[in-house]
């Protein structure tokens, strides 16, 4: 409970005594590159392969002659939009981005760089963490959209180019009973997960005490706690919004 209280105070502290707006603009752009652009590669690989595997396994399980083959495209689409693109992508990003944030801030803490900012009268939480939080909430939805496209593309190539489905079957399945709200749902999840990953990882790194070993522990805790928070939030959001 202490940690949750400290986490909440930490979040509030970011918004007290903020620096000038212009200071954040450049920082947010820098973080967008670090968090977003540098993660495109891993997101692309993971999404494409999961999309491909999900399509092949769905086709493998649909053996009944009463179920049309276009159902594969339909299932791949819904699985991608509802779960694969937002949740799996964010779980991957929790590992990549979360550990990087916690490790970076943890190192800054143990080498007194954060103390140096505090002594200058600058709100270190606001200066260091707020840009990461904003950048994550901007770029995660973009990564989720990229992930969605690539996941469906992966499913398409894995089934159509291996002869499991025809182009017509897959595309018919994709277009059948498409619900636009699901895309908004995925983007809402992306924003919430971005907030959780960036804030939990920053919290873990920001309050690191000790030396290099503790920085490693903070990174591990950041990834573990972010993943748990994502899964819990995934359930809550699904329950509330679907």
């Amino acid at each position: 409970m202490n940690s949750i209280g400290q986490y909440c105070l930490f979040i509030f502290s970011m918004f007290r005594q903020r620096e000038k707006f212009r200071v954040y603009v450049g920082l947010v752009f820098d973080e967008c590159i670090l968090i977003g652009v540098d993660s495109v590669y891993v997101v692309a690989i993971v999404s494409t392969f999961i999309g491909a595997v999900s399509a092949i396994q769905t086709a493998y399980n649909l053996t009944s002659p009463l179920v049309p083959l276009s159902t594969v495209g339909n299932i791949v689409r819904d699985f991608t939009i509802l779960e694969n693109a937002p949740t799996f992508t964010c779980l991957v990003l929790a590992g990549k981005v979360g550990s990087s944030i916690a490790g970076g801030l943890g190192t800054m803490r143990i080498t007194e760089q954060i103390d140096a900012i505090d002594v200058m009268g600058i709100n270190s939480a606001s200066y260091l963490v707020l840009p990461k939080l904003l950048a994550a909430m901007i770029v995660f939805p973009m990564l989720v959209i990229i992930s969605g496209f690539l996941s469906i593309a992966g499913g398409y190539f894995a089934t159509v180019y291996t002869g499991i489905l025809t182009h017509y079957d897959f595309v018919t399945g994709l277009r059948d009973t498409f619900v636009v709200y699901n895309v908004f749902f995925a983007l809402i999840k992306a924003v919430v997960f971005a907030f959780l990953i960036a804030s939990i990882s920053s919290y873990q790194g920001f309050f690191t005490k000790g030396g290099a070993l503790e920085v490693g522990k903070s990174s591990t805790n950041a990834v573990t706690n972010s993943c748990i928070a994502i899964l819990a939030a995934d359930y809550i959001i699904a329950k509330l919004l679907l």
Partner: protein, 250 residues
Amino acid sequence: MIEVNNVNKTFRDKKILTDVSMSFVKGKTNLIIGASGTGKSVLLKCIVGLVKPETGTIKYDGRDFLTADSEVQKDIRREMGMLFQGGALFDFKTVHENVMFPLHMLSEMGKSEKMDRVAFCLQRVGLDKVGNLFPSQISGGMQKRVGIARAIVMNPQYLFCDEPNSGLDPQTAIKIDDLIQEITHEYNTTTVIVTHDMNSVVSIGEYIAFIYQGMKVWEGDKDNILQTESKPLQDFIFANKLIRDRKAMM
């Protein structure tokens, strides 16, 4: 002037500082000395506001730092410059950007004015040629000097140095000491240095407070420290047999 009165600090039931009181004079190099683990770094962190003491007052030219509202605290902090033990330079910024950082964040100066100020400060610490390097590309002594440049770039009223000589060879340590003393006299700052280096004590200690087991047990200056009657201070100063022998010959 900085006045520290009856400061007490406890960490997890362990008393670190007990009723510590001392005054640091403007325009002088004030040293807090003591063995490792006696609480001198905690005292410095209390003075700069990184650690909050349970009781006591810390006044900056009459302004009570601990009870002041956040705006006054912010104003006081902006009159401080601090050199950290490991330099605490931002490793993702170049030397030039590190020194520029306080100006960028806190100053209303124009761009060219800021550039001139950074160039001046780097020149003042003798590092005008390494501005484009990253902290990992320069030596420990250079990092300390960059730390000093960053600390003085805002023309601070109060300069704090935590173990400025740690990890440095004797010659570089003397250069750093001399630089800090020159800056103190040149800008008339109230300088507080935490150290356990006896070379610093006897060369730049214009006011010295000795901390032992969390308490101030002696205060004076470099001219009378060697004649101290305080047993813990004698043990600290004359820990080295060579110095003991020299004292015996005096």
